[in-house]
């Protein structure tokens, strides 16, 4: 992985011994926390009984810890000092070490995001398994206290939404693929990107360690005024989510600018790959809505620390609900819009057919993005004025139309094609099936009268898991299998891949389709104890959930194994026309030795025209 350019004589590299950046970051974070926390808790704002941790001290301590973490990981030499005009030599690490250090290479950053997301996914998944163990009994038997169970639900949801749902397909695959897909060797803001990725582990750790400050019981939404009434752990919820959303915001600024300004010659808007369209749409959503929720969380932190009465019982708790869902519903589309784009990216390649009705696919992505800001209050049918119900119900039902365009495009592409049933295409089909169930059940939830019964029950839990796991996680797996040869130059084992797909499909559909029934039978959310008549189905759901958890683990192991020692394959095993496949696999330090020029559509599999030309291509381009 060392950076030897063609023509350079291999220089004897001088090795410089340093402390591992991650360790330095942790050390500086710890020092920062202790110093600032003690300063606030003992000197600036001592409180009765001289507690070591107070609400203000832990907030300021956390800010210092995060700053210390980012500086220690390499921000000091690469960002802070240079911005004061001091240049310090800070050579990049090589080999596996570069993935655990500051790096401006968009491919390294992409992998760092993917690894953080995967870590978050399995930690939050473990939390889900603990929840399912508890729910096998109708009384408290696994968790000692109900509060701990509800807090586990909150940690599960928070980490899944903010470090997996919004990150894996955008910060992870987006950072890795988007510059390559548009024919650029770097993203627009590599230094910002290099730092933003390290906010993800910081955010995940903050949320996981929140129980140390006390059990918060609000679920992933931090609902007020309960959040003001809960123990202090909720502070780490706000701060952790702040870190995670800041990271996503930086990713979006970076990728939007990259797509706007770094496209290769000839890559017009008409030729822009679908995934780039998806990332553009999702980035605009992020740029509009993430600052909104960040400000809301800052207000909520001030509510506790100052304290102020914005969202307390004597303030306006409903305002928090509105502000949260104003972001919260676009959040759902932040998660699935890139997934739609990946369906439309993978399917023409597998179908060997031009992408059908491409413009309609793009219109769908853009309209979903715009309409998603008009539907938020369908999460609040149980507490809004009656007069507000119908407009939100209307937009909620209408948003299914642009969403359906993704299905129309894919089905049109598949019709009479020469479809290759590979592991990625299997995952995409499964994802489309599951998201369809999520969408169809959404029609019931969009109807206010039905919603008043289904809201806050397991029906809703099942519905949004079908949209998010079904839409996003299945597509994430499809994308990992599809681009695995790109990441590693190696191929997965087909049989294992099919087994993995069927395994998670059975586990997922078994567990979550039964949750619909459970919700209809009167199982409400956030409860570790429930009436005995619900126990039977809960045990079955738990068994399917364990199957699902093991299935994800199986796929993780298979992908990791394939990356390391799968069968070597040619550079472009899918014979795809998009630009990222025209580089070597795995790509070199600089993806393109010379800037490519795009001369046609990437989705024409009908004719033999080259859709691009790469002057002085160093590697073979197999077409």
């Amino acid at each position: 992985m060392s950076v030897a350019r063609i023509g350079d004589a291999p220089l004897p590299l001088r090795k410089k011994q340093i402390m591992p950046p991650v360790i330095r970051g942790l050390l500086w974070a710890g020092i920062g926390f202790l110093v600032v926390n003690c300063l606030v808790a003992y000197l600036l704002d001592p409180q009765y009984g001289d507690p070591f941790i107070t609400q203000p001290s832990v907030v300021f301590g956390w800010i210092a810890a995060t700053a210390g973490w980012l500086l220690g990981i390499g921000g000091l030499e690469n960002v802070l000092l240079p911005s004061f005009g001091i240049t310090v030599t800070y050579p990049e690490a090589t080999g596996w070490r570069r993935y655990f250090a500051y790096s401006t290479n968009h491919k390294v950053i992409g992998i760092q995001y993917l690894v953080s997301s995967t870590g978050g996914f399995f930690i939050a998944g473990l939390a889900a398994m603990l929840m399912r163990i508890q729910l096998m009994g109708d009384h408290m038997w696994f968790f000692p206290y109900a509060g701990q169970y509800i807090e586990t639900v909150g940690i599960h949801g928070t980490i899944m939404m903010f470090s997996v749902g919004t990150v894996a397909l955008v910060g992870g695959l987006g950072n890795y693929l988007i510059p390559m897909m548009i024919g650029s060797n770097s993203s627009a803001f590599p230094r910002m990107s290099a730092l933003s990725v390290w906010l993800v582990p910081a955010g995940i750790m903050t949320v996981i360690l929140s129980p140390l400050l006390g059990e918060w019981t609000t679920g992933w939404r931090g609902y007020e005024p309960l959040a003001q009434n809960d123990p202090n752990g909720i502070l780490f919820y706000y701060l952790g989510v702040l870190a995670l959303t800041l990271s996503s915001l930086m990713v979006s600024l970076n990728l939007t600018t990259t797509i706007l300004f770094k496209r290769a010659k000839g890559l017009t808007w008409n030729r822009l790959p679908m995934y780039a369209w998806g990332i553009l749409a999702v980035s605009l959503l992020n740029i509009i809505w993430l600052p909104e929720i960040e400000i809301t969380f800052i207000l909520a932190v001030l509510d506790r620390v100052v304290p102020l009465p914005f969202f307390t019982a004597v303030g306006s708790p409903i305002t928090y609900l509105e502000l949260f869902w104003l972001f919260g519903h676009p959040e759902v589309y932040i998660i699935v819009v890139p997934a739609f784009a990946i369906w439309m990216e993978i399917m023409p390649v597998m179908a060997r057919k031009p992408l059908f009705a491409r413009e309609w696919g793009i219109i769908g992505l853009i309209f979903v993005m715009m309409l998603s800001g008009f539907v938020w209050a369908h999460h609040m049918f149980t507490n809004m004025r009656l007069t507000e119900m119908l407009p939100f119900s209307f937009f909620t039902e209408m948003i299914s139309i642009p969403t359906g365009f993704a299905y129309m495009v894919v089905i049109g592409t598949l019709w009479r094609s020469r479809f290759r049933m590979t592991v990625p295409s299997l995952f995409v089909l499964m994802s489309m099936f599951n998201f369809l169930i999520g969408g169809m059940t959404g029609v019931f939830l969009a109807d206010p009268v039905i919603n008043l019964q289904l809201h806050d029950t397991f029906f809703v839990v099942a519905h949004f898991h079908f949209t998010i796991i079904g839409g996003m996680v299945f597509t994430w797996l499809a994308a990992m299998y599809y681009w695995l040869p790109k990441f590693s130059g190696r191929m997965y084992n087909s049989k294992m891949g099919v087994l993995g797909a069927i395994w998670v499909f059975i586990g997922f559909d078994g567990a979550f389709s039964l949750m619909f029934i459970q919700g209809l039978r009167g199982m409400n959310r956030w409860v570790p104890v429930y009436p005995p008549y619900l126990q039977g189905i809960n045990i079955v759901i738990s068994i399917f959930a364990f199957i699902l958890g093991l299935g994800f683990l199986f796929n993780l192991i298979h992908i990791a194994w394939a990356m390391k020692s799968g069968k070597k394959v040619q550079e472009n095993p899918w014979q795809s026309k998009t630009l990222e496949w025209q580089t070597t696999s795995p790509p070199a330090e600089e993806s393109f030795a010379a800037a490519p020029v795009v001369t046609g559509s990437f989705y024409d599999y009908e004719d033999d025209d080259e859709s691009f030309s790469i002057p002085t291509t160093p590697g073979p381009v197999s077409m």
Partner: protein, 267 residues
């Protein structure tokens, strides 16, 4: 053309099977209904099921049928697929139909069912309702009957209990505060008043008064069917799972009897 024909036949067959399924089991969508409101919600759901079934069958069949029909025979050579990159008829039908179906759903059942609910909650419709004041606190429900002078309805064990006469509209007046510690506004959080068998729930919000209307249609109780219970549906702290109360829907005579007994007990 053959593809189209086979697909059409399969679609019709599976849609018919689906509709038969909806006819047979659709009324179980709400497991247990004990109010007119639940029946309204149920009929809206069944209507949606009817219309969604052929759509669902269409997409799922496409997702299974096309890949199977179009599976490449040889996996090695790159054979290019045939087919249009645009088909105006297909796109027009798709867009028009999805628009039409969604507009239909918005008109019926969404708006029609909502209008029905608005009508039930109008002041004119509520003149002869039984009024039940519901107070939610962390983590308990209190019920009082101002028309009968019952301050705090309790059962023999001293637990809060809700008694309702059958076939008489009830207006629940929902408030969130702690009657035992009215100074402690820090304890007031959002709860949600839900009786699963009534098919509706309404959030209880500190500082605001909300209303919910229901007309019980069956004589039932929590003991005979656990879906007839008051359950807090919005997470409200570590006691949220324990925040429920028993419900008894009784005959008019039995309700009068119960009122007397409550007044005698000084509740």
């Amino acid at each position: 053309m053959a593809d189209l024909l086979i697909f059409g036949v399969l679609w019709v067959v599976f849609s018919v099977l689906g509709e038969l399924g909806v006819s047979a089991w659709g009324h179980n969508f709400y497991y247990y209904t004990a109010s007119t409101q639940a029946l309204d919600g149920l009929s809206a759901s069944v209507f949606l099921f009817r219309f969604l079934t052929p759509i669902f069958v269409f997409v799922v069949l496409m997702l299974i049928f096309i890949p199977l029909r179009a599976r490449r025979r040889s996996r090695d050579s790159v054979v290019r697929g045939k087919g249009a990159r645009f088909n105006a008829t297909y796109v027009t039908i798709w867009v028009t139909l999805s628009l039409a179906v969604n507009l239909l759903f918005f008109v019926h059942p969404t708006t029609s069912a909502a209008e029905q609910m608005f009508k039930e909650m109008s002041p004119q419709a509520e003149q002869h309702d039984l009024v039940v004041d519901v107070v939610a606190r962390q983590w308990q429900w209190f019920f009082s009957y101002p028309q009968y002078g019952i301050q705090n309805a309790l059962n023999a064990n001293g637990n809060n209990v809700l008694y309702l006469p059958v076939n008489r509209p009830v207006e629940f007046v929902l408030r969130s505060y702690d009657p035992n510690h009215p100074y402690a506004v820090g304890l007031d959080v959002i709860h949600s008043f839900w009786i699963p068998a009534f098919g509706e729930k309404m959030d209880v919000i500190p500082g605001e008064t909300r209303y919910m209307v229901a007309t019980p249609t069956k004589i039932a109780s929590t003991e005979t069917n656990p879906e007839v219970r008051v359950q807090c549906a919005e997470v409200c702290g570590p006691g949220h799972p324990y925040m429920y109360a028993t419900v008894h829907i009784v005959s008019d005579a039995a309700f009068k009897q119960w009122v007397k007994q409550q007044l005698k007990a000084g509740n």
